[in-house]
């Protein structure tokens, strides 16, 4: 099957080229140029559309196996495709936990049958996410994992994290750290501060994140091993990562759209769709995260897509699970809140949502060039609309962004030259 995309504006991390044609053959990009005239099975007029390398999400939860009532590989990947993501890395807090080779193979197998985008499992750092013994990272790597993380639960013992960094690096695996000191968090449910005091909720101090980020930086510096900090949400974390990078520490960092768009005030009225971990912070933290994105301290934007069933969120605030869905809102939020105000250029955004996450996961994605997999997303950058959770392809609708006016709508998503999403 030959597909010809005509007159698109190709935007990669390095350059922007207008009025380009892209020819796709056998799932790969075979030619890029102006005025390609070749008979194709399908010709798509991309006039007025941006053609980006398919987005890469280094942090999501597909809930499969174990929690298919929230999401499964099929719906999760369809939701990703609608959001412009062509490669997604899913966290291991499934049931059973992704902590051994056989479960990785089970997921890879199901992903190849039911997934519409590329799915890369992330293995657990420790067996059962319990924070004690290392999981069989080497065997899981052979089966297909791209990184390790105990996401959702921090590795509380510094000695275990130190060994995890060293062992994982021996297999070329990135360690992704969920930074939260559970002793400081004390089972809280939102950011500690004025709003929390007013609502009478138990608070999670920003120090709970900062203390762990500082530990990971120290361990990375001491061992010389790389570490990736998940979902950065505090000013303190941003500042420490910035300083560490200046010293040459091998630390990379991600944040999520909710940390550059929302503050703790979104929790008012006990809105459980604004409950996540780390919690939404203050305006000062939001400003710091934005500055971190601008100056490159924060390398990538991930979704932390975390579906939960309506019933689970329709309860008392402290009893509701943490997390919000993110695939279908990430790109428009980034375009609206980062590109539109001039904080990031389009090329920088493509870097943070495609090229760089691919680099961190060490997958050969995130670029548009001859010979590359035809993982592409066509976006109308100027289309404005109001987010309606009922339109999500995701099984769950837990989002605080319903009713937000955003710009940028995905029109087509290609994975390996196949159209996996088409906005009609």
């Amino acid at each position: 099957m030959k597909i010809l995309i005509k007159h698109g504006t190709i935007i990669t991390r390095d350059k922007t080229e207008t009025n380009r044609d892209i020819l796709i053959e056998n799932g790969r990009i075979s030619r890029i140029g102006e005025g390609i005239n070749e008979a194709a099975d399908l010709v798509i007029d991309a006039t007025g559309l941006a053609v980006l390398p398919g987005l890469v999400d280094a942090h999501c939860h597909l809930r499969d196996p174990g929690y298919e009532y929230k999401e499964d590989i099929r719906t999760g990947s369809m939701s990703a495709a609608k959001g412009g993501f062509t490669s997604i890395a899913c966290m291991p807090n499934t049931n059973p936990v992704i902590d051994n080779e056989s479960i990785v193979r089970t997921i890879m197998d199901k992903a190849s049958r039911e997934g519409v985008v590329n799915i890369y499992p992330i293995g657990a750092i420790t067996k059962g996410l319990e924070g004690n013994e290392l999981s069989e990272m080497g065997s899981m790597k052979e089966a297909g994992i791209v990184a390790v993380s105990d996401d959702g639960r921090p590795v509380m013992q510094a000695s275990v994290m130190k060994k995890a960094l060293i062992y994982a690096n021996g297999f070329g695996l990135t360690v992704i750290s969920h930074c939260e000191d559970l002793n400081l968090a004390e089972g809280g449910s939102m950011n500690e501060g004025e709003t929390c005091t007013r609502l009478g909720l138990h608070g999670i101090p920003s120090a709970a994140e900062d203390v762990m980020v500082s530990r990971e930086i120290i361990l990375s510096e001491y061992t010389g091993m790389p570490v990736h900090i998940a979902h950065v949400s505090t000013r303190g974390s941003v500042e420490m990562i910035r300083q560490a990078k200046k010293r040459g520490v091998r630390v990379t960092a991600e944040t999520c759209p909710h940390y550059f768009t929302l503050t703790e005030k979104a929790c008012e009225g006990y809105n459980t769709n604004a409950k996540m971990n780390p919690p939404l912070r203050t305006q000062e933290d939001v400003d710091a995260v934005i500055e971190g994105l601008r100056d490159g301290t924060i390398d990538i934007i991930a979704t932390d897509h975390a579906p939960h069933h309506f019933d689970e969120k329709n309860v008392e605030f402290e009893l509701a699970p943490n997390g919000i869905v993110g695939f279908e809102t990430a790109l428009p939020l980034a375009l609206t809140y980062l590109v539109k105000p001039g904080i990031l250029t389009m090329n920088q955004l493509v870097d943070k949502m495609s090229a760089k996450p691919a680099e961190i996961l060490k997958i050969n994605k995130g670029d548009i060039r001859t010979g590359a997999d035809a993982d592409l997303v066509l976006v109308n950058l100027n289309e404005e609309y109001i987010i309606d959770p009922d339109e999500f392809l995701c099984k769950s609708k837990n989002t605080p962004f319903g009713g937000f006016r955003v710009c940028g709508r995905v029109k087509y998503t290609f994975v390996g030259g196949k159209i996996v999403y088409n906005d009609k």
């Binding site: 004390e186 500690e192 501060g193 004025e194 709003t195 929390c196 005091t197 007013r198 609502l199 009478g200 909720l201 138990h202 608070g203 009225g269 006990y270 019933d311 329709n314 309860v315 008392e316 605030f317 402290e318 009893l319």
Partner: protein, 308 residues
């Protein structure tokens, strides 16, 4: 005039004129409580359910008596024997009570915001009888009633709240309510028991007991719970009593006619000495009587909303 909302979820949502309405009506209700004929038919044919997810003696009994004195059907839902133990959600429990014909559901819950969730999903009026560390509006109303009765008004009063502000829904509701009525609230607590940003709710943080009490019209103690020790918030109840406990000699710094209040139950010798609790200045028992009167007024105003 009537209350604007079908529910009483917190002082946060009450306007000063609504607070005055409740306090004025409570005056008449108090006469009923103190009479030999504690039975009127204002709420005849109405049903009031007390849905308590936390242990309580005085608040639950106070609401039940208030409902019964007014002629309503009063039913207590005990959590241990209810379907809650079987894992039913709050909303489902609420809906069940709703369709049985309850007019008012009084809820106490350890979860902040639980009454708000319930109120969104049922037609009956919801009264918050304490939700976690958030609010306890009827306690603040009865405290304000007690102050007003003794002092003739609330505006300009200086109220010192001493104790575990962090975990206290009583403190939060009083800070909000008294602020709305023009009183000045001071707080004093072990620094670990002062929540971040409490001053922005409209109170002044004091750095000593003397500063808090100086020229105060009202001194309110708050209950300190033993479990605060386990969380390393205070070292011992003995040390708490030594630096934060109230005794009769403290009254010298306050106004001569200062009122001593406590939402109860009191740990004698910890928050306050027995001498102070049983002193002439103490309004602790009066508060309990007033609680019934204030709750009668509130039940009447909520149940009668549509008929006005």
């Amino acid at each position: 005039m009537k209350l604007r909302s079908k529910d009483l979820l917190g002082l946060e949502h009450l306007e000063p004129d609504e607070i005055n309405l409740i306090l004025d009506m409570a005056k008449d209700m108090k006469k009923i409580v103190q009479s030999n004929m504690k039975r009127v038919n204002y709420l005849q044919g109405r049903s009031v359910i007390t849905l308590f997810y936390e242990n309580s003696t005085r608040t639950r009994v106070s609401f039940e008596l208030a409902a019964k004195y007014m002629g309503a059907h009063a039913v207590n839902v005990s959590v241990s024997t209810s379907s809650v133990a079987k894992g039913e959600t709050l909303i489902d429990t609420g809906k069940t009570l709703d369709v049985m014909g309850s007019d008012i559901v009084v809820i106490r819950h350890s979860q902040p915001g639980a009454p708000h969730l319930l109120a969104k999903h049922i037609n009956a009026s919801v009264i918050n009888a304490g939700d976690g560390m958030h609010e306890h509006p009827t306690q603040a109303l009865l405290d304000m009633f007690t102050m007003q009765e003794a002092k003739g008004g609330l505006e300009g009063l200086t109220v010192a709240i001493i104790g575990d502000i962090m975990h206290s829904r009583v403190a939060r509701s009083n800070i909000i309510g008294l602020g709305k009525m023009g009183a000045k609230v001071r707080v004093f607590a072990p620094a670990t028991l002062l929540p971040i940003g409490i001053e922005n709710m409209g109170c002044q943080i004091c750095s000593s007991l003397e500063e808090a009490i100086s020229d105060a019209d009202v001194i309110m103690g708050l209950r300190i719970q033993k479990e605060r020790l386990k969380k390393a918030l205070i070292p011992s109840t003995e040390e708490y009593a030594r630096f934060f406990g109230l005794d009769v000699h403290h009254l010298a710094a306050a106004k001569k006619d200062v009122l001593v209040m406590h939402p109860g139950p009191v740990n004698r010798g910890v928050e306050m000495t027995s001498l102070l609790i049983d002193s002439d200045q103490s309004k602790i028992n009066e508060q309990v009587t007033n609680g019934v009167a204030v709750r009668m007024a509130l039940l009447y105003l909520l149940a009668g909303r549509e008929e006005h």
